[in-house]
């Protein structure tokens, strides 16, 4: 029995998507992430928390900066965070195509002052699925 979507209806009312499209995680109805390329993904999704300048933000907790963040040296770390989430970061494996994930990982690792040369490939993303 799938109870969670029923409960989520407290916040989410409906989806117009065909049943097959709703096999994604239950909170995603209606809009789709159609944007292509790392910059577009960043500007439409990631900067909601990590901010337009990738410097993060701080309130009761923190959204970590991606600018000047030594953890970005590891492509695998960034890739895993995007796919699986951790500590407040939601998992995005159900939202993005392999190309979108690879593109945005490569984007943040080559912008905002980051200059890492090694690239994540779509196959690397697929390996985590």
């Amino acid at each position: 029995m799938r109870r969670e979507p029923v409960m989520l209806a407290g916040w989410i009312m409906l989806g117009f998507l065909p049943a097959a499209a709703q096999q994604l995680t239950p909170d995603f109805r209606g809009a789709t992430f159609t944007m292509q390329g790392g910059e577009a993904v960043y500007r439409n999704v990631c900067q909601g928390c990590h901010m337009a300048d990738a410097k993060g933000a701080s309130g009761a907790g923190n959204y970590p900066a991606l600018a000047g963040n030594a953890k970005l040296a590891s492509a695998g770390y960034v890739l895993t965070m995007v796919m699986n989430g951790h500590r407040g970061m939601p998992p995005f494996r159900g939202h993005f195509t392999n190309a979108q994930v690879a593109d945005v990982v490569n984007y943040v690792r080559t912008h905002f002052g980051n200059k890492y040369r090694d690239q994540v490939k779509e196959a690397d993303v697929q390996a985590l699925r």
Binding site: M7, L8, A9, W11, M13, A31, F33, G59, A60, G88
Partner: protein
């Protein structure tokens, strides 16, 4: 749980196949699959040993009901709260309020007196007995909340040329066509395996009744169907009083429109009448709780460390408005309601299982936009009094104000209420662009938007500094793996909040989570 007999189950699955999920869902909720609140009246705690102290982190609904009950039982309680007000997500924005989100954008709410928007929860279903108990206890005035408005719209850009359809028409047409189909199946003996002869006769009667079918079991333009979907010309008094029936949509149009997916919402257990809202905004409950607790709440506290040992719990905190000086609160026990995206970042010595449960629980993205208009055109022009319009546009929901009906002044609409991807995209934009988007989408349903708009406010929940999201984002899998570990008493620390409930996003989840947590805590206190 109700046992479903094979024939009934077959019938259900046939309804599902023939008619789509809405009718199936309707039938399933009729069978009582959903569960109600576990709130069984006010908790009764025996007096604890004198001087038993509890520090509660967060003055939201969970923290405050825990504090009220523990205080009443004789515990020495104090609450540390990040904000300068009680309530947490029990929150209403009025004209004159300012709200600064993460990233620094500050919105100065311009609503007129009497107007408001609830960025967080806004419904109190009748069976959420816990939160209703506290509203009653604290004399918070409640009024009806209208979930389903038969004259509001369901709208899809992909159906009926993008023209909004009245809920009553879509529902009547959907039910009518499905009833006619099932009546045909029954007559052609297609259901003989599933339904007994005696039941078939009753089923035929029921289908005619449910679907507004005519004497031939057909759903078509008729007085019967118009009594549900409305007339082309209404009956009236005097000479020109003859009602003119309206023309139903064809079955294929109804199915292909997918608008049926929008009519099931009101069938949901949590959406069924009666639903209530506090007069003047949901925040009235939080305010009343805060007033009741008075000096037990210390505001503007940003927790930076939570440490337990054999003697008690020490919470370190600073002034959330920018203070550096670390202060400490100590107590024998700790109830922590801090949202998990924040709690995951606070050093806290709990066991690996609870830590893993906290770390894996982000909060969902959500967006609410409040829009003030010069006049209540939805009432004046379209006969819509409260309730909701649903659309496949990214604003998803338009909620009409459910107070001050027929007033001649201004009104505030809930202009967008959305989750998931649309909410992520909205959070990535500045508040003024979220409002602009809500206007652009909503004006496809209400063309009056652009000429009547005055001002608005947009809350994207991932930008809310004190939650970093709107509610715990559980999945079936993560619940299986982590839920019990999240809720378990860990030494002297126990968590409570909607995220530690099976009613995610509902204040009832916070109340029942808090009752469960203090009940277990009390047992531990009394049985050391």
């Amino acid at each position: 749980m109700t046992d479903v007999s094979p024939s009934r189950r077959s019938l259900l699955s046939m309804i599902g196949v023939v008619a789509g999920s809405a009718a199936m869902y309707h039938a399933m909720t009729e069978l009582g699959y959903a569960e109600g609140s576990t709130f069984a009246g006010p908790i009764k705690l025996s007096p604890p040993p004198a001087g038993t102290t509890v520090v509660i982190l967060g003055a939201g609904v969970a923290g405050m009901v825990a504090a009220m009950e523990l205080r009443d039982a004789g515990y020495q309680v104090r609450i540390l709260e990040y904000n300068g007000r009680p309530g947490g997500r029990n929150w209403t924005l009025y004209g004159g309020d300012s709200y600064t989100e993460l990233g620094g954008a500050t919105q100065h709410v311009q609503f007129d007196p009497g107007q408001y928007i609830n960025p967080g929860p806004w419904r109190l279903p009748y069976h959420h007995r816990g939160i209703l108990h506290y509203a009653k206890r604290l004399n918070v005035a409640l009024e009806p909340f209208t979930q389903v408005n038969y004259n509001a719209y369901v709208h899809s850009t992909e159906a009926y040329g993008g023209k909004p359809q009245r809920y009553r028409q879509v529902q009547t047409d959907f039910h009518g066509h499905v009833a006619e189909l099932l009546a045909k199946c029954t007559r052609q003996n297609a259901l003989d395996q599933a339904v007994s002869k005696e039941d078939r006769e009753v089923l035929m009667l029921a289908l005619r009744d449910w679907g507004a079918l005519d004497q031939n079991y057909e759903y078509k333009k008729s007085f019967e169907s118009s009594m549900r979907r409305g007339f082309a010309s209404d009956p009236g008094g005097g000479i020109k009083s003859v009602p003119v029936p309206s023309e139903p949509s064809a079955l294929s149009d109804v199915l292909q429109s997918r608008l049926w997916s929008a009519i099931a919402s009101g069938h949901n257990y949590e959406m069924q009448s009666a639903i209530f809202q506090p007069k003047g905004g949901m925040g009235m409950i939080g305010k009343a709780m805060g007033k009741d607790l008075g000096p037990l709440i210390e505001y503007n506290c940003k927790v930076t460390d939570i440490r337990q040992d054999e003697g008690g719990v020490t919470v370190t905190y600073v002034d959330s408005r920018g203070g550096k000086e670390a202060r400490k609160a100590t107590a024998k026990w700790c109830i922590c309601t801090i949202p998990t995206p924040i709690l995951a970042q606070i050093p806290m010595n709990v066991g690996a299982k609870m830590k893993a449960a906290i770390d894996q629980l982000p909060y969902l993205a959500a967006l609410k936009v409040g829009l003030q208009f010069k006049r209540r055109f939805w009432e004046e022009d379209e006969d819509i009094y409260g309730g909701h319009t649903y659309t496949n546009l990214p604003n998803a929901t338009i909620g009409y104000p459910m107070w001050d009906y027929f007033s001649k002044g201004k009104g505030v609409l809930l202009g967008a209420y959305t989750f998931g991807r649309a909410a992520y995209i909205a959070a990535s934009k500045p508040p003024e662009e979220r409002i602009k988007d809500a206007l652009a989408y909503g004006s496809q349903i209400h063309p009056q938007y652009m000429s009547e708009f005055e001002n608005g406010v947009a809350v994207a929940w991932h930008r809310v500094p004190w939650t970093m999201g709107c509610q715990g984002a559980w999945t079936d899998e993560s619940r299986e793996a982590h839920y019990n570990n999240l809720c378990a008493l860990d030494g002297r620390i126990v968590l409570a909040n909607e995220h530690a409930s099976r009613l995610p996003g509902w204040q009832e989840g916070s109340v029942t989570s808090a009752m469960d947590a203090i009940g277990r805590l009390h047992t531990r206190v009394m049985n050391p």
